[in-house]
Subunit: 217 residues, 2 copies
DNA sequence: TAGATTGTTAATCGATTAACAATC
DNA sequence: TAGATTGTTAATCGATTAACAATC
């Protein structure tokens, strides 16, 4: 059903937002929406919405608009949320703990199978239902449990050796909160970086330049 | 010294990364670097670096390259890090606490003056050297202490009323971790959104499409 | 002077916006 | 049928890359 044309990264980055708005519409019992209506709700343009949605096949109907439940469903498939990729989280410090408690992995396409840390005071404790394991057992673990992705909540220094181990065990996707640049060394790995400190600097710069940033909107 | 041409958001988003690499070079005692040398280190192109750096004036020297300490200094100024904007943090839950402990506000251009929460169990406790205040006192506080920016670590529901209060008190910059869309209502506010759940979905999508994401790189 | 490397212009590429024929 | 709204093509805009004259 979906077109085989590759989807540009600009479009991919807008998909989660479409997903959110469509989920809300669906939950509110809205069955039908036009590109114009959705554009007003989202603060974007009807033209962009039609272009975006058309990347993965024509789900609209001329003179009618889009079927909300169907469109929501199609976007879930494009996002690949039902793949439930297996993942491990590295680093149960402040950031790692916040991610564990704050992010809903399952509804975002992942199944978290383990959490690791090197700190003996943390190892064995339970966070958000996961018992923290000894990082020394990481390689052994990943060799026995197929792992698709890793969430790197480590400082820059520990990120490199840990990424090496993970890559060796076949992990090819990283959600990276450290400033270590995984994709420079491992070109075939899929990497999504979240640099909180950089984001805050961007805000500072935009305040100074008095310019809108609006990332991801 | 710097040109008055406005700097595009694409360039601004690359500045924190230049900042990091130049700081490291400077700390390693490197005084001089060519666009080609920096490009190799950063995994980008010399052409882009020269274009970017030229947005804010010619700091290079033909046949020589760039003076590292000077360039670092200029980028700090463009980023506006020495402005030390005053800021408050809203929501001392898992995420708020991680931000408090993990992010170095001062070196990113901000001075955190207060932390607020509505949970009586948290109010009065100390996190990263800050005593959590009662959110009921937010308006009173912001009216007496000039506040430039707010860090919104709240769920979507509480984000809207809190943003209303803050805007009323003159806050015009938001580092927003919630899915509430501040910039739609307040067009003149500078907003930098960090949507962790969206970011994870993007990773899922890129794994499914087998495409590089490399945000912010 | 010769070599290196910038600043800047021109060419290319991609993304967004506008327009409209197709059609429900 | 007439009105609405899509899918899609064309036009515009902006960002990246390539090229090269200027110059240290």
């Amino acid at each position: 059903m979906s077109k085989s044309k590759t989807i540009s990264l600009s479009v991919i980055r807008r998909l989660p937002r479409y997903y959110r708005f469509l989920l809300e519409l669906k939950n509110n019992g809205v069955n039908r929406i036009s590109s114009k209506g959705l554009a007003e709700k989202m603060g974007t343009s009807a033209s962009q919405i039609r272009q975006d949605l058309n990347c993965f096949g024509g789900f609209g109907q001329q003179g009618y608009g889009y079927d909300v439940p169907r469109l929501f469903n199609e976007i879930s498939i494009i996002l690949g949320l039902d793949n439930q990729y297996s993942a491990v989280l590295l680093g149960a410090g402040n950031l790692g703990r916040a991610i564990l408690n704050h992010v809903d992995f399952a509804s975002r396409g992942f199944r978290l199978t383990a959490v690791f840390d090197i700190n003996p005071a943390i190892i064995g404790t339970e966070i958000a239902g996961m018992t923290v394991m000894d990082a020394a057992k990481l390689e052994e673990y990943c060799k026995s449990v197929k792992t698709d992705a890793a969430f790197i909540c480590l400082p820059k220094e520990s990120a490199e050796p840990v990424a090496d181990i993970l890559y060796r065990c076949g992990v090819r996707a990283f959600w990276n909160f450290s400033h270590y640049d995984i994709s420079m060394k491992y070109r075939d790995a899929v990497t999504e970086n979240v640099h909180l400190n950089d984001s805050l600097m961007t805000l500072c710069c935009c305040m100074t330049e008095s310019r809108q940033s609006n990332s991801g909107e």
